[in-house]
Amino acid sequence: MSTQGNGKFYLYTRYERFWHWFQAALIIALIATGFEVHGSFTLLGYKRAVTVHSALGITWLVAFAFFVFWVATTGEWKQYVPTTKKMFEVMRYYGYGIFQGQPHPCPKTPEAKHNPLQRLTYLALAAALLPFMMLTGLLYWLYNDWAALGLGGLGLSTVAVAHLLGAFAILVFLVVHVYMTTTGHTPLAHVKAMCTGWEDAEDGKPEDWEKRTA
């Protein structure tokens, strides 16, 4: 990873940035069409909402496979290994230090882009919640083949309520996640970094255990 003389360093690769925004768009569109199918509001009309939701869901599933491949082959998975080290410091920072203007206990560096809280959140998201949504969504979509798949005992109501709970969890994540982007040294700094790939360098160095070693 390179650093520029002007205090910036390249943190997010081109694919990573694309994946982030592509997935963000998919998830937002899935939430919108999904809640329309749930009957929360009318936007596209029920039939089109179902059609779009199904198509986006399958698209997401396929695209997610590429992401898994990328994470596995580039060693990026190491950034998602959970840890409790410094976890308390990070929590204390967001609960207290941030109001005091204290520095972040784990600033982003090329070697370590996630703080311990992010590691845990993103691991839960990428390894649990999102696959859970894909799985329940796929089941929902394959409803008529359940008997053939040996899932005859499954109820549509169960699958639907599981999918719904997951959707609310993602929505809660989305609210907090969008807010957290404003906690950089300027409110748009993190968003900018996710667009350009270049993060402004801050003081502080990662400890050895935080560094990614390809």
């Binding site: 081109r14 940035r17 694309f18 592509f22 199918v37 749930h38 009957g39 929360s40 009318t42 009309g45 029920y46 039939k47 179902v50 059609t51 199904s54 198509a55 399958i58 698209t59 396929v62 695209a63 967001y94 941030i98 109001f99 005091q100 203007g101 409803y143 008529n144 109820g155 549509l156 109501s157 639907a160 309520v161 719904l164 709970l165 959707a167 609310f168 929505l171 809660v172 609210v175 907090v176 807010y179 404003t182 906690t183 900018k192 667009c195 350009t196 790939g197 270049w198």
Partner: protein, 556 residues
């Protein structure tokens, strides 16, 4: 600022990838416009070629040349005798049909189910004691009371079904006979003419819609009274009314679906389904064509996988018959309890209502007629359960004189549209049974339409069927259901998804199935939105806190 500039190229490239995913086959999108393979459905092709192939509707006989028919028939029974002199087996076949006996032979004890059994409806209630009027729709001659000889083959009316000239008519009150001289029927102001038997017999042939419709369009004593999906508009329907029977298009006769073998016509509907198995012609080409699947198969939608996903739970009719009575009105309610009022001159009268139909008739009470009626929906395994006149009833509840049979869990039922006809009709509050009134009869009889006295009419009717009557008369609310299966609309008029997939939609209250958009798991949804609201409030509080803290620090 370089914000979001560099990755534009990638965005373009990946947009293409996304587009490929989005267009990856109809299974995914479910609504590709191409329809050109629709005609390739094999069952449909078979059905179509059966009538459109050259010479497909052949006959090997010219009835105008038969010696047996070269005479001046004085009575319709003579015509029947002439028919049976060649068609020796037809008489026996007919006498084994429900069209002849008005009894379902393989339902229950083989005596109770059927118009001439112990079932009742909330129109003219029951046939016994009212035969001469009701049996104008019987395929026989002279069924004027319970002494009718069902074994007399010459009493079979061949012509009402096989007259292709459509000049043959039975008089409404002559127990199935046509007139012998021009006769006016005061109720409809129409003069009935004696049939020209020679002309009619020269042209007998297979029945068409008008033959079947002569009775089935007029059930309940008038056009469109009973079924809601069968009335005289179905004689020569436009495509917009029925895509199959479209007189200028596919022009299906009734028998195209009501497969007929030895005069037994598929589609009878009492305690057993009209179609016990849903198989297509491609599986058994001599199977009954009574079900939609017979021709359309189990995956009828070529380009709409989501629609095919519904066929396990939803009958085709539920979506493809958005409303019934789309051309002519149908009777939706009949209140017998108000019958018998007289006008200022002390005479029976009719009050005109909407659609040119009476809203009140002294003889019958109050009516509600409706057009373009949205059906009601029930789980349906193809059979109906029927109440009998001997059943004990609870008059505090609405009585279902018949009801769709089936449930969400029996593995055979699907959601089916119905016409629900409500009524208020006489019953015996002491014996807690429904009653059969003697409605139709001569002026000096006990008939209700002769003297407007319920007690006399019911006593007479119940005595006729050997059932007890206490002498007390009350009125009870009833409902009666007809499956809606005709008037299949063009696919553009199909019921929209959100007509059912919504909280207040057509399937409101239908048990046993999770309908997305209708069943919203209200508790889970409330907790979910609560969590989202809590998250929003938390981040707003956190953000405001940061802003306040930051400005304080700057101020220091």
């Amino acid at each position: 600022m370089r914000l979001c500039k560099r990755p534009l190229r990638i965005w373009g490239g990946l947009a293409v990838v996304a587009a490929v995913f989005l267009m990856a086959g109809p299974r995914m999108l479910g609504a590709a416009p191409s329809d050109k393979n629709a005609d390739a459905a094999p069952g449909r092709q078979l059905a179509r070629s059966a009538v459109s192939a050259p010479g497909a509707r052949w006959t090997t006989a010219d009835h105008s040349k038969f010696e047996a028919l070269q005479k001046d028939f004085a009575k319709p029974e003579e015509v029947t005798a002439a028919c049976l002199s060649c068609h020796q087996m037809a008489g026996d076949q007919i006498q084994h049909t429900a069209h002849w006996t008005w009894i379902c032979p393989d339902c229950g004890d083989g005596k109770s189910m059927g118009k001439y059994g112990k079932t009742i409806n909330n129109f003219c209630i029951a046939v016994p004691s009212n035969e001469p009027r009701c049996t104008s729709c019987h395929i026989g001659y002279g069924w004027k009371d319970k002494k009718f000889d069902f074994a007399d083959k010459n009493r079979i009316d061949c012509l009402v079904c096989h007259d292709t000239t459509h000049t043959y008519e039975k008089f409404p009150t002559k127990a199935g006979y046509p007139v012998t001289e021009p006769t006016l029927f005061p109720e409809d102001g129409k003069t009935y003419l004696p049939p020209d038997y020679k002309k009619i017999t020269a042209k007998v042939g297979r029945p068409d819609r008008l033959n079947c419709g002569a009775c089935h369009f007029y059930g309940g004593g008038g056009d469109g009274v009973k079924h809601g999906d069968l009335d005289s508009s179905m004689g020569m329907p436009k495509k917009s009314l029925d895509v199959h029977m479209d007189a200028e298009g596919l022009n299906f006769t009734c028998q195209r679906c009501h497969t007929t073998k030895e005069h037994q016509i598929a589609g009878r509907l009492y305690t057993s389904p009209a179609a016990p198995e849903r198989i297509s012609l491609t599986e058994a080409d001599l199977a009954s064509k009574i079900a939609c699947e017979s021709c359309h198969g189990q995956k009828p939608h070529k380009n709409n996988a989501k629609a095919n996903d519904h066929v396990d739970k939803v009958a085709c009719q539920s979506c493809h018959i958005p409303e019934f009575a789309r051309v002519l009105p149908t009777k939706m309610s009949w209140d017998w309890s108000t019958a018998g009022q007289m006008n200022a001159e002390g005479k029976p009268f009719k009050k005109p209502g909407p659609y040119g139909k009476p809203s009140y008739d002294t003889k019958k009470g109050d009516f509600v007629w409706e057009k373009n009626v949205e059906p009601v929906y029930y789980w349906f395994n193809g059979a109906m359960s029927n109440m009998l006149v001997t059943d004990k009833v609870d008059p505090s509840k609405m009585l279902s004189l018949n009801h769709p049979a089936g449930s969400a869990t029996d593995g055979k039922s699907r959601i089916m549209p119905f016409k629900r006809h409500t009524g208020k009709q006489p019953f015996d509050p002491v014996n807690a049974t429904l009653v059969i009134p003697h409605l139709f009869g001569p002026k000096d009889s006990d008939a209700y339409w002769a003297n407007y006295d319920w007690k006399r009419a019911i006593a007479s009717g119940m005595k006729y069927v050997d059932l007890p009557f206490s002498g007390e008369v009350g009125f009870v609310e009833t409902e009666y259901f007809f499956p809606i299966t005709h008037m299949v609309a063009p696919k553009e008029q199909v019921v929209a998804c959100d007509a059912c997939h919504s909280v207040e939609g057509r399937l409101k209250g239908l048990p046993g199935v999770y309908v997305p958009g209708r069943d919203v798991h209200a508790g889970v949804t409330m907790v979910g939105w609560g969590a989202v609201a809590a998250a929003v409030l938390a981040v707003i509080a956190h953000g405001v806190g940061r802003m306040v803290a930051s400005s304080r620090r700057k101020g220091q």
